[in-house]
Symmetry: C2
Subunit: 422 residues, 2 copies
């Protein structure tokens, strides 16, 4: 299947300046086979006039719990502990693989409306998650979430091998929920696995002040120091949230090449704090962006996250020049892809995966066209996502979904599930 | 012209709980003539099946500079002073009434996509702004912006009388730019006018720390104290931004019945600070929400503002329960309308103006339907605005605009204007 997207503006994200040129992009099956100036001739199965809109790499949601769609706006405006222990955990206990399958599909629909072409999904019932993604044609990087309440390192290794070869849309990373929910015994066993297989590890890290304080009380070290001290980060990986960090933590992130995945909407809504994104940039630590799960956000919208990343740095640093929008655009695309080890989904270049989006510039919030790249960060919204392409397939186009099931079926299932569970 | 909107969920915003019922809404010309349960019979010029979507009052953008669309993403990531003095002011000097007309229309288009049915517009060339709104069928409350560089109080009084009777879509309030740009002579003259005509006054107030410090140096008082001391607030009004406020300022706002209009996205982007919204609520000071102008935001999106209002309170108070979403929904609708003295545009009740929106619930970010009202604040986006009705007329429906000119014409004009001015 060879498709030509012509009459386009193209931001490949292959250069630091996020430059934009006019031309066209061709895909063959799952890959990009041409990006450049307009060309004459050639045979295509389909030719799509992009009408001067922008093609750019899809956003990468570098930390989420997709199937938590069922708890969206189920319990808001509550203190964190009450929300988590009285509302979230009892409901999660009722999840089944079938429920996770449908709830994941609902989340994937929302990703597509927000121009997200891959998610880094840390949640339970991984078989069901993978099945949902494969059935939709969506790209998912699974992350294990073992903790004291479920999972074994032995099973994680099996899952790693299984999901690494199950389908080209699926990959898998070692991970665990968090230091405060996981025993030293499990963490050491996981570190041994990471070192034996030379693999990166991902984990919730320093999301809240109390998490860091608790870890210091338990071990006399911050979570980052503790994990590094047991060799967990010898082959890289990263932390989700990374809000409350010490100087030594920054050093470890820098030296180990770890990714800090920031989740600003969730950090606001759960009152966790503002991540030191500018400090990461100054120290050369790569930052990616995640939405976190829809129970704590409550939506899956990379545009909102991007504005927050820069806006919160500007206000907390009292500097309107802090955290340039182009840096943020790279976090949401290139860095996100690399944090998830999706090295062939980061830019629009020949040979890369055809994971890209069409941004509708013919909307009032994109006019006049003073600076398209910055405008995406400062003024963009889901309304500007005209088309979302994953692995060469158009999954979302002008408000319509091409993911197998109809939206009505998925909404009906989601509402049935939540009413059964309440 | 009598229109029936049936098969609807309706949130009238007439009750504190933001309750939602099923039924229908009828309009006759510019007014709501029925809201309630489904009814049989009746003759209508048009019957619209809302398909179970939500009807609610339109959002009110209680502070903006609409025509600044031309500077959207023109100069970002710069220190505030450089941005304002080297980039904004020189460009504004080139504005003409015709340019303001087209640039206002572009802003109105964006309002419609965000479910905003009225704006409180402080900008120059007010005749052109009013003309643009009338031609589009949009509701605009003009606010004077006199300062040392332009305008006279004498002209303001004439404008007040003119725009108060020019068209039912247009109204006018006394106002001035800010204490730091306006001489005591002008402020006293304006206060005299406000007292003589018994009118409220609106002004940028305590947006930045340096503004407050400067005022204290000049007069030994905060801006709020100063204005109150010369009787400016004797007949009410309000302040835009209101970020850096003293205990005494709060007292004055409370005693004078002033509105605090918060502009969170602009306050982040320009690094001005986080407004003490919870304190306003605790003290019983009414809060409304504005986008500020598109040069400092850079978009006109009430959904982003609503999330920021609550999210920034939660994080700055370190309390996930702070600033309940339903409070925010009232700020964006009922309070906004009342701050602009649009007392018949605040709720969906018989006799009120037909200024309302249809929120598309059949989108993934609105599913499952655990709590529709809270979900609008936490997960809503422009993508959910299906239909925007102002003064009984459908101005925006399913991505199409019904405002006279085509989007292409308006975009072309806006791009021509900025290229002529650069």
């Amino acid at each position: 299947m060879k498709i030509r997207y012509y009459n386009a503006k193209i931001m490949t994200m292959a250069d630091e300046a996020c430059s934009i040129s006019e031309g066209e992009l061709h895909t063959e099956n799952d890959r990009i086979v041409y990006v450049g100036e307009a060309v004459e001739g050639g045979t295509f199965d389909k030719e799509i006039n992009v009408n001067g809109n922008l093609l750019m790499p899809g956003f990468k949601n570098a930390h989420t719990h997709t199937a938590m769609t069922f708890l969206r706006s189920y319990a808001d405006d509550l203190p964190l502990q009450e929300w988590l222990y009285n509302r979230v955990f009892p409901m999660e206990a009722k999840l089944t693989p079938e429920r996770v399958y449908w709830l994941s599909k609902l989340g994937i629909m929302e990703y597509l409306t927000s121009g997200i072409t891959a998610n880094f999904d840390m949640y339970m019932k991984t078989d069901a998650i993978a099945e949902a993604s494969i059935d939709c044609g969506f790209r998912t990087v699974l992350c294990d979430s073992i903790n004291n309440f479920g999972g074994t390192v032995e099973q994680m290794e099996k899952d790693y091998d299984k999901f690494s070869s199950i389908n080209s849309l699926i990959s898998y990373h070692l991970g665990f929920h968090a230091e405060y929910t996981t025993s030293m015994e499990i963490m050491k066993e996981l570190s041994e696995l990471a070192n034996r297989r030379k693999l990166p590890v991902f984990v919730h890290n320093s999301e809240t002040k109390s998490e860091v304080e608790g870890c210091k009380e338990r071990y006399g070290m911050t979570p980052t120091e503790l994990l590094d001290s047991i060799g967990m980060y010898n082959y890289g990986g990263g932390g989700y949230h990374c809000v409350h960090m010490s100087e030594k933590d920054f050093e470890i992130f820098k030296n180990r090449g770890l990714y800090a995945v920031t989740n600003p909407a969730s950090n606001l809504k759960l009152a966790s704090g503002i991540a030191p994104v500018c400090t990461y940039l100054e120290k050369g630590i790569p930052v990616a962006i995640g939405t976190d799960g829809p129970a704590s956000n409550n939506c899956l919208d990379m545009f909102r996250e991007m504005f927050l990343v820069t806006g919160l740095q500007k206000v907390s640093r009292e500097d309107a020049a802090a955290c340039d929008a182009l840096e943020v655009l790279r976090m949401a695309t290139v860095n996100g892809a690399r944090s998830m080890c999706l090295y062939d989904c980061d830019t629009l270049e020949v040979g890369k995966k055809a994971d890209f989006i069409e941004i509708d510039l013919n909307q009032p919030n994109m006019q006049p066209m003073n600076n398209i790249a910055k405008n995406i960060v400062y003024a963009g919204s889901k309304q500007n996502v005209k088309r979302t392409v994953v692995d060469g397939k158009i999954l979302y186009d002008s408000g319509n979904f091409y993911i197998g099931d109809s939206p009505e079926t998925i909404y009906k299932k989601a509402n049935e599930i939540i009413s059964e569970m309440k």
